[in-house]
Each structure stands twice: as C-alpha cells, then as structure tokens.
Symmetry: C2
Subunit: 639 residues, 2 copies
C-alpha cells in the first residue's frame, strides 16, 4: 500500500473557510427544525421568529399589595388630612389581583391605616390606574418576542409560557458519531503495559461535543484496515450528521482514513499548517462532514476548537459564550515555526496590572497542558521568535474573574507546593494557584521581572554557604522573602540500596548510572557545590547530562531502573517507595512580588502556611522542618 | 391575622454575608461528597486532590510515525551522504508504538526513503531517545493532577482516564425544591382571563438552577394558608438541601410565608434594600436555606442571581464562567432610589469605541426586559440621578464577542423593524439587533450623541411639509440618511367602524375616546400638525393625554374596547384585525451613525433591505411602499 505524505497543507482559517464553503454548497448549514414543548427548550435555538399569542399581563391588575379604590373617592386625602373609606369604597387585594369596576386604582398596603374590618384611613389622593399594571404592559399580543436563532435562557422560557407560546420550532440537534481507529488501542481501564494505548480521546471528544449541545455516540474501535474503516464510515454517514474518525489521520502505515475518505467522498484538506494539529483530514462523504482528528490529545483539541466547533456553531446559528481575549505578556522566549500557526496552552494571570502567561508543555501529546491551561496563545506563522516580555493575544477558557484570582507560582519543585495550592483552595475556593516548575533561578528571575506573584527558591551561595538571601540581594532592590520549609536533600536510590551507595563520592563509580536535575535548579547548584568541594569533575559521573525537571520525574527514572541514583528530597523517595540517604538540610523559601503583599491572597497564603493543618500535613512526610515557617524578611538591598 | 410590614431592610451584600455566615455555622457549606465513575464526571467538582495512579505515557514510545533504529547505526548519515539500513536495523512503527531494545530512537517517515521491504535509506544521524516519548513525560505516577474543587472539563476527564483514575470523589449535587404558593396561580397552559395568574416562575427558577448543576423538583402549588405552607415546608426540608418558596414573600394578607419560616426556623432577612427584589425572605429551617423569592419575575431573577447563585457557588466551591464586566455609558438619565441598589436590565453594544447601554423596562414584573437583556447595570444606593453620558459598570450575560456584534437601533416603532432584525439574523447569525422604541426624536438624538448605530425616524416638518431632512439638518453636521419605507398613517378603529369615524375632525366628538402616542413620537407630531391645520385644540379631544409607546399597544387598547380610535399605521390594524381609515403617507427612514458605514454590518443591513425577500415580506402587509428603499442621502449640513 502507498504511504500518503501530506501534499499541501492549508492554514487553519483557509481550511475552515474552504470546508464551510463546501458544506454550504451541499446544504449542510440549512437549519433543520423540530417542534418541541416550550418547557423543554432550555439552551435550544429558535428556528423561526416567535410572536406573543397573548398579552402579558392579560388583564388590568394590582401592581402592589393594598386596596382597590375608586380614584374619585380619594380626592383631597393628604397626610395631614386623611380620609376614611368605608366598606363599599375599598377592597383588599394582593399583587396581581384583577381590577374590577367600579375600582380603578390601588393604594399600597404600607400607606393605609386599617381602622376596623369595614373602615380604612387613606393619606393620599390617587389618579386613575395608579398602581395598576395595564394589559400588555409587559408584552403585547402579536409582538415579535424573539427573532430566529435566539438561544433560549431560563427567563426566556417563562416569558414564552406567559405569552401563551407552548410549542417552539427549534433547530434540531446535531447527531455525531466518533469512530476510534487503530489496532493498538484498548479501553482506558485496561493495563497499557503490554505496549498498547489507552483510548481516552473518545471521552475527550464526546464530552467536548456534549457541552456544545451535540448528541454523540461512540462507535466501537475499528481495526486499522481499509476495509474496516470503509465499512464503518459508509454505514455511519447514513445515520449521523457528522462523523469523527480518530487517530487514523497521520501518515502511518496503518492509517487508511485518507484513502477511505478520498474514495468515498471528497477530501477538502489533508494536513493543516498548524502546530499542534497537523495530521487532520477534512472531508465530505454523503454531503456530510467527516473529520479525521489527530490522535494526540493536544492536536485533537486544537482541531475540535478551531474546525469542529465553528462548524457546529454555524449549523446551530449561535456564538460561543464562555471566552475572553486578553493581551498578555510572555514570560519566556518562545521559538515557533515560521510556516505554521502555533497554538500554545498557557497559564494566565494578572500580575502588576497586566496579564502575563507561562507557556505549558507544548507537545501535541501532552494532556496535562490541556488540563492545566487557563487559555490558548496563538503564535502566528511568520513569527519565529516571540521574545520574553512581548505581548500577544490569549483566548481564555475561563472567565476573566477566575483568571484574575489565579496566583502564579514559578520556581523550584516541591510536593508541598501542590499541597499548599490544594489547601489554599480548601480555604477559599475562588483562588487558584498555577505552579510552574522552572527551578530556583527561574523563580528568582520571574519575581525580578514581574512575571509571577511567588517564586519558590532554594539557592545555596557557594561563598557564604548561606541560602537564598545572597542571591535575592544580588538581583532585587526591594524584596520580601517568606521563610517556608527546611528540607533534607540526599541520594535517592533503589529499595535496599543494592549498589551500597553512601555519599556523593560514590557517584563516580563506573557501575553507577546517575540521573541529574536541570541546570539552574537549586538541586543542581547544590550538587555542583559539593562536587567542587570534593574536587570531583562532572565528567567523571556517568549520567551527569541526563536531566529531569522535577524531583518526582527523577525518582520515577530510578524506580523504573533507568538510573541508580539521583540527588533529591526525602518525601519524594517516600512517595515512590525508594531508599533515601540524607545528606544536607536546605532552606526552601517563598520570594514574594512586592506589590502582592497588599493583596488579600497573600494573607491567605500566610494564614495557610502558618496553620496547624499545613504543619500536620507537612510532617506526615520525611525530611521537612517547619521551624521558621512564615517569618518575613524584607530588604532594601544594595545596588 | 397580623399584617407583616418589613421591619428592617438589609442591603443585598449585607444580607448575603449574613445568610452565608449563618449557613456556615450550621455546616451547610461543608462539602458533601459522592464517588462516581470518572467517565460520568463532566462539570462535576472534585472534593479532594487527585493523584496519578500511573504515568502518562506508561512506557517509552514512538513520538512520530517512522522507523525504530539504534542511534549507533545512524552515525554519520547526512543528506548528501545517506546510509542504508537493512532488515534487522529498523522496524516500521506508528506513533505511540512501544520502544523495544535494541532500538532506542525513531526517524520520521517523511525523512526516510524506502528502497524495498528489507532496506531503507536514512539521511540523518540521531541521538538516543530521538523522537521518543519517555515514560512520565506528560505526567508522573503520584503527581497531584488537580487540587480539590477543580471543575472537570472534557480534556480533564481524558487525562484522568489516561492516568488510571477511574473513580472520583466529587461534591454531590444540591437537591432543591420549588414550592409555588398562592390561590390565584394556574398552570401557564390555562386561560388566565378569569383573573388568575399563569405560574411561570417555577419554570424560570428550575431552568436557572438546572444550568448551575442543581437537581430541581417542583412541588405542586400550595394554597395561601399558614397550615398548607407550614406543612409543605416542614416536609420538604427533610429531603431537600434547599427550599425555594415562590410568590409568598410580599406583605399581602395571604402571604403566610414569613410567619411559617419564623415559627419553623430562623428568618435572617425579610425584605432587601434592592430594586427590584425587595420582597425576599432569607431563612434557615432545619439548618437548610429556605428562600422566599419574590413573585415578580424581574425581582425573582435578581434574587436568584445575587443571593441564590452565590450560595450555590459557595456550596459547589466554583466560580461562574459566563460573564464579563464592562464600563458603559448610559444613553438616558436614570432616576434611581437613593436608599436602594437598583439592578437595571440593559441592552448593551459597542458604539464608536465605547460601550453604551440602553435601560430596558424597569418594572419588577417585566419579563420581556429579562428576555431582551444583554446585561445588568447596577445603580448603587446613594446615587439618585445617573446622568445621560455617565459611565457605570455593566455585568454582561453574554460573551463580549456577542455584545460587540450587537447593533443598537433606537427610534420610532414599526413592525418592519422587528422583521428586519430577524432577516439580518437569517443572513448572519452572529449579528443581533437590539430595538429600543423611544420615538423619532429619541432616535435622532441618539445618533447625534453617538448612542446608537441606527435611528428610525419619521419626522414631519410643519413648515415645509417635508419629512426627516429638515430635522436631520438641524441637529447633525454630517449625516447619512437611508430611505426606508413610506407607510400609511390613519385612524385605527373598531371592526366595522361602529362609531362611524371618518377623519381627524371626528376626534372632538363627545362619544369618542381617543388614545394617543407619546410626546416626541413621529405619530404625535403628525397628529399635532393636522390638529393645528384644522384649528382643533388638543383639550377638545377626550383621551388626548392617554399615551401609548408603540403602535401595537395603541391598537391593543382599541381592540380591548378601552378606546375607540387612535392614529397609527395600517399593518398594525391588520395584525390586530381592526379597521383602518387611511389618511397620510409618511416617510420612515434610517439615520445612520457616520462611523457605522465602514462596518460590515451596515452592508448587511443594506443588502437585507434591498433584497427581494425583504420587499416581499413588507408587501404582505397593508400600507407600505418601498419605492425609495436603500437610497442614501449624505449631507454636510449647515450648523
């Protein structure tokens, strides 16, 4: 079988426009309608304008609780010269009560004095129709209430019921089917260790479409063969409005989707000029959209968001309602492809009266970046380098209110920081904390540049042997340092320490594979400090260049037997059920953006770290000491 | 029975805080949890932090389609000096395929040349783990994936499945019950003409709560008696988390809710210092919130939005996600209560690079204002007059994208304008048109002040007998006037014209009740012009001061027999099945904000009014003439 390499990649806007034009031609966007009871129409879209069948209100009625009166009988009554009305001259009425002759006005209950059952005193003269809601005051019979394509909200429905509209012609729901393809996929509940892939995309796609009001079915997985895919697609286009093939759209030898769609219908685009999202097929079969979605979740999401969603909104004649666009400053230099639009998931927050974003992991395969994103930044093609400090547009996937309450934490990695984030949430659910692990120097520089609210640092000064302050003073004019935890750094080794590793000196042994932390991390600086003290050259260590970005990734590598030893913290060894050889106590502190101490969220953090429950939580782990937690060191430093 | 007058009205923030504090004391906000399958957790809120049960990916795998190779075998290969690998030195692999020794890297399919089944040519030398996704690259076993109180989105669920998390502890759903009270309420499907009130609030409340993720039941309506309400509330608090009494919270004689709640539990607030929304009861019975919601839909909505919703979000530990706040200019002078916060529903749009809003009908009873609102403006207490042109905050209930596409139409009333709005929607569903009827002079002034995109005007100059241009030239330096329709104004009378009315002269007859249009409306100016020509004094006309704001409201008054005759347009007589006596042809034109002609929405309007279908639609009605439609008159007028 011929291997299909992408021939011509379209830009995403171009591909969408072309696809929409083709679908327009086939009549796909012509609204199809159904008639449903008004009571079941929440979130549905009207297919036709709707007119009132009756006026609201339908009769003249009391607008207040009070008494019905004849306005003529009230003439002359004032506060100082009240009038008494007797039995036939008034009638108690509740709000909404129907006006009956001879009465023509209402006096509010608060403004009368009840003398006895047959007599009331009034203190004002009222004109005809005073406090009366007139027929049609809200809505007149035959008024157009809504134009077509109005999406119905809760109060719309009660208005329609009040106006006597009990059935509605609405746009019928789109029915879509997802066909997962591939020999290698298994249900997520199965053990993937035999080399197969848990099929989690159909959950992503079906929940995504469900939120847009699409009825979704998931087909059983189809083998990677031309015949199987052909048979599934041919059947499904007969009973669904939209078919989504998943994972069969890349150029692999078992990917027959392109050939099937090309043979069954018309392929509009094969390959998109975006990153992630390239391996996408847009086609029409039986006049219906059949989309080959990429297998990587990051790519799949971008294509859902930028191709599938606009098509659904076009068919439903509505607009998305849950997004905002802000201009935000990049906290990193970003290299991007000059020939592709790149969609980058980001953490986003307001820092010092501007929005800043931190790019999350960029691989198409990463699901964590999707789960942690606050929004998506687009680096357009033509831009090869977006410098740190430059602004671009970010489309949020949360409300601005939520974004504005997001605390940006940048710096070194420690499991207690995640626990802190959770305990902050426990105390005030409106506040979130986005954690980015870029090492201690990264945290320090983020605060220096105003890119974060908090930096997590543990930086040993090789000259003084002192932690953090020497660095902070060097880079910051004004600073606020909150003492956080002392923690034990040591060697993490296999259970029972089979290689009998005892200290830093052992790292040069030929039978030992080391795993290191990334440059500029506090742990790396600590290692280098001790290597230099001991006169050990880095090149003597087997695996010195093998870097991991977090303690837990480092420990996992050892757990999996891919390395024998690494420098890390005690709790991670405990989490991973590995052996820990304690070596050094170090100080891990929180560097605070000066402007942030006026923020109520800073107090929230202080209250949390000083709480008994935080202490108890920390002390369930090995190797933490909280004796100085919460101490604040302020400085107007030299320089 | 004692009549309960509000004793002490709390501000809405104060009442909410007090209510929340009381609920906090009783433990209402302590999260109650349930364990559910991850696959059914969309939009649910995590009760606990969630950790990965397995790494993602769980094994080293191919990041691309291509061939597995040993990096050592590739040494030295370049574009100009390719290398051939034979049978045992490579293996075809699809993205995701598991890496097996001795292979340690992948070369992309696009970068190889297949010679035959047993030989491929490569053009690059690759290092170990090139194009390999490493174990835990996305997520490490034991990593905290989410903190508690995270609301799950589609991609979150697929990440959890990939991380081997198949069950989740989430916050259980709130169960609420609505108890409609009142002897006068009937199901909306019944005919309300016997003086009873269609019960439409339970639909509003239940749909509103449904959108927030609350499980809602509606109790059958309960009679207005102490015993009935007592019995219903006592039962319901046993099986529901929240009870919402509706319509029993005002001061009426049949409103026993306050006494019931006071006797059964603790009333925290009776009466709120807001408009609308005053007749509200906040109470705790059996440690659960029991809220007496006002009966008027406008009031009910404000209390749902400002009291009930925050309590639900507090219980669910989440934030709303569908709103934005903008500063917007008021197009009207607004008089508000100095002692109450007033919530005003508004139309909102971007006009000339600022947001402007038009207040909608302000009665608590109005449902139409709810249905037509783009957002809510709050006039805080302490402000008695908000001047036209002043800015205040408006909280939208639509996305900014939708607001930005909203066309503001202000001016005279004509049914063809609603039809135009619908036909615009038909052509481009992303564009809406908000119509405000304030008469022709209002439309003219709105354009002069930059408060609208389009003004609809029909203004007769008494001196020249000419329409529109004399007025436009008087008030605007530059103008763009689009000729719209000519329409017939005449007398609308009862079917068969029982009072034998023939012309303006008849209006002075003693046996005739007239109904007029409001001051500064084009129709009023037209009437006054002809009265003065005929030498008729306004005071001679019985009903001259009885004003209606739209043609259809005027016609409805005649239809109901509350008046005999009014001046209006032919199509409205036709819609209402009344008799029409044609008198004058007048010119109804569209005055365009000069900046708006550059906007694509202006072209959309032009295309629509010039279309065959608009013409056909208009000509199905009596009394329209479209001979000049679409003609554009521009002017640089004298000052």
């Amino acid at each position: 079988m011929e291997r299909k390499i992408y021939l011509k990649k379209l830009d995403v806007i171009e591909a969408l426009e072309l696809f929409k034009a083709k679908l327009q031609e086939t009549g796909f966007f012509v609204p199809e309608t159904e008639t449903i009871p008004t009571t079941e129409s929440l979130k549905r879209v009207l297919a036709k304008p709707v007119y009132a069948n009756r006026s609201v209100p339908t009769y003249n009625s009391a607008a207040m609780d009070g008494i019905f009166v004849r306005s003529l009988d009230t003439t002359g009554a004032t506060k100082t010269n009240p009038k008494v009305l007797s039995k036939d001259q008034f009638k108690f009425v509740n709000t909404g009560g129907r006006l009956e002759p001879p009465f023509d006005a209402v006096i509010m209950i608060e403004n009368i004095h009840v003398i006895d059952d047959d007599h009331v005193q009034i203190f004002e003269s009222v004109p005809p129709f005073h406090n009366i809601r007139l027929i049609g005051e809200d809505l007149c019979e035959k008024d157009m209430i809504f134009t077509r394509y109005h999406r119905l909200k809760p109060y719309d429905i009660s208005l329609l019921l009040a106006a006597g509209v009990f059935e509605l012609e609405v746009i019928r729901k789109i029915k879509a089917v997802i066909i997962p393809t591939g020999d290698e996929i298994i249900p997520p509940q199965c053990d993937p260790n035999d080399g197969r892939i848990p099929e989690t995309n159909s959950s992503l796609i079906s929940n995504y479409l469900d939120e847009l009001g699409v009825v979704v079915d998931v087909h059983q997985p189809v083998n990677d063969s031309y015949e199987s895919i052909l048979s599934a697609v041919s059947k499904m286009v007969l009973s669904y409005d939209m078919v989504l093939l998943n994972a069969g759209s890349s150029a692999g030898s078992f990917d027959y989707s392109y050939h099937v769609l090309n043979d069954l219908g018309e392929v509009v685009a094969h390959g998109l000029n975006i990153r992630p999202g390239k391996p996408t097929i847009l086609s029409l079969v039986n006049s219906k959209p059949v989309v080959g979605l990429p297998g990587y979740p990051g790519s799949c999401y971008v294509v859902l968001d930028h191709i599938v969603k606009p098509i659904i909104f076009e068919k439903y004649k509505t607009l998305p309602s849950n997004e905002a666009v802000v201009e935000a400053v990049s906290t990193r230099r970003i290299f991007s492809s000059i020939s592709e639009d790149e969609f980058i998931r980001v953490s986003l927050s307001r820092v010092k009266d501007r929005y800043v974003f931190v790019p999350l992991k960029r691989g198409a395969a990463t699901m964590e970046a999707l789960a942690k994103m606050d929004g998506t930044a687009v680096v357009p093609k033509g831009v090869e380098v977006l410098d740190e400090g430059q602004k671009i547009s970010v489309r949020t996937c949360k409300s601005i209110e939520e974004i504005d309450k997001n605390i940006l934490f940048i710096g070194s990695n420690d499991p207690l920081v995640s626990i802190l984030a959770d305990m902050i949430k426990e105390r005030d659910h409106t506040v979130s904390m986005s954690i980015t692990n870029v090492g201690s120097m990264g945290g320090l520089m983020a605060i220096a540049k105003g890119y974060a609210h908090i930096g997590g640092i543990h930086l040993l000064d090789p000259n003084s042997g002192e932690y953090n302050l020497p660095y902070v003073k060097k880079y910051l004019k004004n600073f606020i340092l909150v003492k956080f935890i002392r923690r034990n750094q040591g060697l993490i080794v296999q259970k029972s320490n089979p290689k009998r590793i005892e200290g830093i000196e052992d790292l040069v042994r030929k039978d030992i594979r080391f795993v290191n932390r990334q440059k500029a991390s506090g742990t790396r600086i600590l290692l280098d400090y001790h290597l230099s003290r001991l006169g050990i050259d880095q090149s003597q260590i087997n695996g010195y260049d093998d870097e991991e970005f977090t303690h837990i990734n480092l420990a996992l590598k050892i757990k999996r037997g891919l390395a024998d030893v690494g420098l890390g913290i005690a709790p991670v060894a405990q989490i991973m059920d590995l052996e820990f050889i304690p070596l050094f106590w170090e100080e891990y502190d929180l560097l605070i953006l000066p402007e942030f101490i006026e923020d109520s969220r800073f107090q929230l953090i202080m209250n949390t770290i000083l709480s008994e429950s935080f202490r108890n939580n920390a002390l369930t782990w090995q190797g933490y000491n909280l004796s100085n937690v919460g101490e604040i060191i302020r400085g107007d430093s030299v320089d």
